[in-house]
C-alpha cells in the first residue's frame, strides 16, 4: 500500500464525483 496508489485512487474517485455532478447539473437543467 503506497502513497502513490492511494493518491491515484483518490484522483479516480474525484473524477467520478465530478463526472456525476456534471451529469446531475445537466439533468437538473433538462428535466
Amino acid at each position: 500500500m503506497s502513497t502513490r496508489d492511494l493518491l491515484l485512487a483518490l484522483l479516480a474517485l474525484l473524477c467520478g464525483a465530478a463526472a456525476l455532478m456534471l451529469a446531475a447539473l445537466v439533468i437538473a437543467a433538462t428535466v
Binding site: M1, D5, L6, L8, A9, L10, L11, A12, L13, L14, C15, G16, A17, A18, A19, L20, L22, A23, L25, V26, I27, A29, T30, V31
Partner: protein
C-alpha cells in the same frame, strides 16, 4: 435474499424514474404570434413576436419577414422578449399597406430544427393575399457531416467504455494466469485509442451541429465556438466531452492500479474502478439528455431506458473489440488457452446485454412510434428497421460463435489439440469481425435515428382516415349516413389563405344549420393543433378561409359535422399542401 435485494433496488429505481416530472411531448411548437396569423392590422407593427412551447435560443433562430415582392423587411436580428423567455421578437421597418410572409426556423432542445410560416397584412385595404413563395431550407439534423461525426463519437465512446469494462472485469482472470501482460496491455491501449477518437469527435460534432444551427459554414470557427454552449444540446455534448476526459483519467488510474499477478484487487484499485465506473455512468447518461429521451414523456423512464440501452451496447461492442485485440496481441501458442478462458465469460455478459438492449429498445420504439405503420411509412421507422435487422444479424453470428467456437475452444484447450484450436480461433475471429462490423452499422443506424425527428403523434389518428387528397385544389365527395359531403380546399397551398369548405346534401337537398368544426394537425412534425368552425355561407355550404396550412407537407383534417337531430358525423382526410 440476494434476489430480493435486487428486485427491491429495481423497484426503487423504477419509482424514481416515474416520479421525475413528465415533460410535454416532442419539439418546440409555435403557440402564438403577434401579429396574429392571417390577421389584418390597422396599424403597422414595430416587431414580430413568436411564442413557443419551450425556451428558444434566439441566436439560433431564423425569422424572415418578407413583403409580396420577397424583400426582407426585418430591421434587426431575433432577440428574446424581455417579458417572456419563451418568446422571441424581431424588429421590422415601418411597413406599408400590403401582405407579409413570416417564415421561421428555430432549434428544439434536442437539436432538431423546426420551422413554419404564416402571413399577416397591414390595412386598411391590403388587397387579396399574394402567392408567397416559402423559402425552402432543406436542412435537418441528418446531414452527412452531422450523422458521420455523431456516429464516430457514439461508436468510440461505447467502445472505450466497453473496452475498459472488458479489461478490468471480463478479461481480468488473465492477469493471474500469467503470460498475458502484452495482450492485456493491448486491450488497455485500444481503450485509450477509442477514448482519444471520442475526445476528438465530440468537439468536431459540436462545431458541425452549431454551424448548422446558426447557418454558418463550419470553417467560421471564430463565430461558431462562442455559440457552442448557447443551446441545451451543445451544453450537454460539451459536458460529455468533459466527462469523457474525466473518464480517461479515472480509467487510466484504475488500470494502472490493477497490477498483474494479483488475484484480488487492492482497496485502492477498487476505489479507482468505482471512480471510473461513475464517470462511465455519467457519460452514458448524457446523449439521452441531449436527445429524444429528454423530450419524450415519461422523461424519467425514457432516460433510464436510454442509459441501460447505451450501457448494454457498450459492453457488447467493447467486448467484441476486446476479443479482437486479445486475439491479435496474444502469441499464437497461447491464443487457445487465453480465449478459452475469456470467451465464455464474455458470452455470458453479451447475452445479458443483448437481452437488455432488446427490452429497452423495444419499449423505447413503442413509445416513440405512434402507430405500427409509422415503422415503414417514416424515415424514422425505416432507420429503426435497419438498426433492428443489423442487430439481428449480429445476434445470429453471436449465436454461431456461442454454439460452435466456444465448445471447440474449450475442447481444444482441454485436449491441447493445436489443430482444433487454430480452427476454432480462426472461426471465432471471423465471426467476431463480422459481428463488430454489423454492430458498427447498427450504431450508424442509431446515429441516423437519433438525428431524425420521431414521427408526429398526430400519425396515430391516421388509421381512421377516410381518404387522401391534394396536392392542388381539392374537391372530393364522401357519403356518410346518407349525407353527401363534398370536401373542398382551395387553392390548397401552404401559408396563404385557403378556403376550407363542405357542401352537405341529403336526398338532393342542402343540409342546413349544421355545426361544423375542422381540426388541423401537421403530420410531418409535431405542431400545435388548430381548430376552426365553418360558417354556413349559403344553404348547405359551410366555409372558413384561413391560412391554416402553415407549411408544406401532410395535414390531417378532421371534420366533426353535427346535424340537428342526428348523431355527429366524423370525417378525416389527409391533405398534402404544396408551396
Amino acid at each position: 435474499m440476494r434476489i430480493g435485494g435486487r428486485a427491491g433496488a429495481l423497484l426503487v429505481a423504477l419509482a424514481v424514474a416515474l416520479a421525475l416530472p413528465a415533460a410535454v411531448w416532442g419539439h418546440a411548437s409555435l403557440l402564438a404570434t403577434q401579429p396574429q396569423a392571417s390577421g389584418v392590422l390597422a396599424q403597422p407593427p414595430t416587431q414580430v413576436r413568436l411564442t413557443y412551447s419551450e425556451r428558444i435560443e434566439p441566436r439560433f433562430a431564423v425569422i424572415s419577414v418578407t413583403d409580396a415582392e420577397g424583400k426582407q423587411v426585418t430591421a434587426g436580428s431575433p432577440a428574446r422578449a424581455p417579458d417572456d423567455a419563451d418568446s422571441i421578437v424581431v424588429p421590422v421597418h415601418k411597413l406599408p399597406q400590403g401582405w407579409y410572409l413570416v417564415w421561421w426556423r428555430v432549434i428544439s432542445a434536442d437539436g432538431h430544427p423546426v420551422r413554419g410560416a404564416f402571413t399577416f397584412a397591414v390595412g386598411p385595404s391590403p388587397g387579396p393575399p399574394p402567392q408567397f413563395v416559402i423559402p425552402s431550407l432543406g436542412e435537418s439534423a441528418a446531414t452527412t457531416k452531422l450523422v458521420g461525426s455523431r456516429w464516430i463519437l457514439l461508436l468510440a465512446m461505447l467502445a472505450a467504455i466497453g473496452l475498459v469494462a472488458f479489461r478490468s472485469v471480463i478479461a481480468r482472470p488473465l492477469q493471474v494466469a500469467g503470460g498475458s501482460e502484452r495482450a492485456l496491455r493491448g486491450v488497455a491501449l485500444a481503450a485509450g485509442g477509442a477514448l482519444a477518437v471520442a475526445l476528438v469527435a465530440a468537439p468536431v460534432y459540436l462545431v458541425f451541429a452549431t454551424a448548422e444551427f446558426s447557418l454558418r459554414p463550419w470553417t467560421d470557427l471564430g463565430q461558431i465556438v462562442p455559440l457552442v454552449r448557447d443551446s441545451g444540446f451543445g451544453r450537454a455534448f460539451s459536458d460529455l466531452w468533459a466527462v469523457l476526459a474525466l473518464f480517461a483519467v479515472a480509467a487510466g488510474a484504475a488500470l494502472a492500479l490493477d497490477r498483474p499477478g494479483r488475484a484480488r484487487r487492492t482497496g485502492e484499485a477498487l476505489l479507482a474502478i468505482m471512480g471510473a465506473g461513475a464517470c462511465a455512468a455519467a457519460a452514458l447518461s448524457l446523449p439521452g439528455l441531449a436527445g429524444h429521451p429528454a423530450t419524450t414523456s415519461p422523461v424519467g423512464l425514457m432516460l433510464a431506458l436510454d442509459w441501460l440501452h447505451l450501457a448494454a451496447a457498450s459492453i457488447w461492442i467493447g467486448g467484441l473489440a476486446g476479443l479482437l485485440v486479445l486475439t491479435a496481441a496474444t502469441e499464437p501458442g497461447a491464443r487457445v488457452r487465453t480465449l478459452a478462458l475469456v470467451v465464455p465469460r464474455f458470452s455470458r455478459a453479451a447475452m445479458g446485454s443483448v437481452a437488455v438492449l432488446l427490452a429497452t429498445g423495444i419499449v423505447a420504439s413503442i413509445v416513440h412510434l405512434p402507430t405500427l405503420g409509422a415503422l415503414w411509412q417514416t424515415s424514422y421507422g425505416l432507420a429503426l428497421i435497419a438498426k433492428s435487422a443489423l442487430l439481428t444479424l449480429a445476434l445470429v453470428l453471436g449465436a454461431v460463435n456461442n454454439l460452435r467456437s466456444r465448445p471447440r475452444l474449450a475442447a481444444a484447450a482441454e485436449r491441447r489439440d493445436q489443430v482444433l484450436g487454430d480452427g476454432a480461433v480462426r472461426l471465432l475471429r471471423r465471426l467476431v469481425l463480422g459481428e463488430s462490423a454489423l454492430l458498427a452499422g447498427a450504431v450508424l443506424a442509431a446515429a441516423i435515428l437519433t438525428s431524425l425527428a420521431p414521427p408526429s403523434s398526430a400519425l396515430a389518428k391516421l388509421g381512421s382516415s377516410d381518404g387522401k387528397v391534394g396536392p392542388g385544389s381539392v374537391s372530393r365527395t364522401f357519403v356518410r349516413g346518407g349525407v353527401r359531403i363534398q370536401v373542398g380546399i382551395q387553392p390548397n397551398r401552404a401559408a396563404i389563405d385557403n378556403a376550407f369548405a363542405l357542401h352537405l346534401e341529403q336526398g338532393g337537398k342542402p343540409v342546413r344549420n349544421a355545426q361544423i368544426t375542422a381540426e388541423l394537425d401537421m403530420l410531418d412534425m409535431s405542431m400545435q393543433q388548430q381548430a376552426y368552425t365553418l360558417a354556413e355561407i349559403s344553404p348547405g355550404v359551410y366555409q372558413r378561409k384561413r391560412p391554416a396550412l402553415v407549411m408544406v407537407g401532410h395535414w390531417l383534417l378532421a371534420y366533426t359535422i353535427e346535424i340537428p337531430g342526428r348523431t355527429a358525423i366524423h370525417l378525416q382526410v389527409v391533405d398534402k399542401a404544396d408551396g
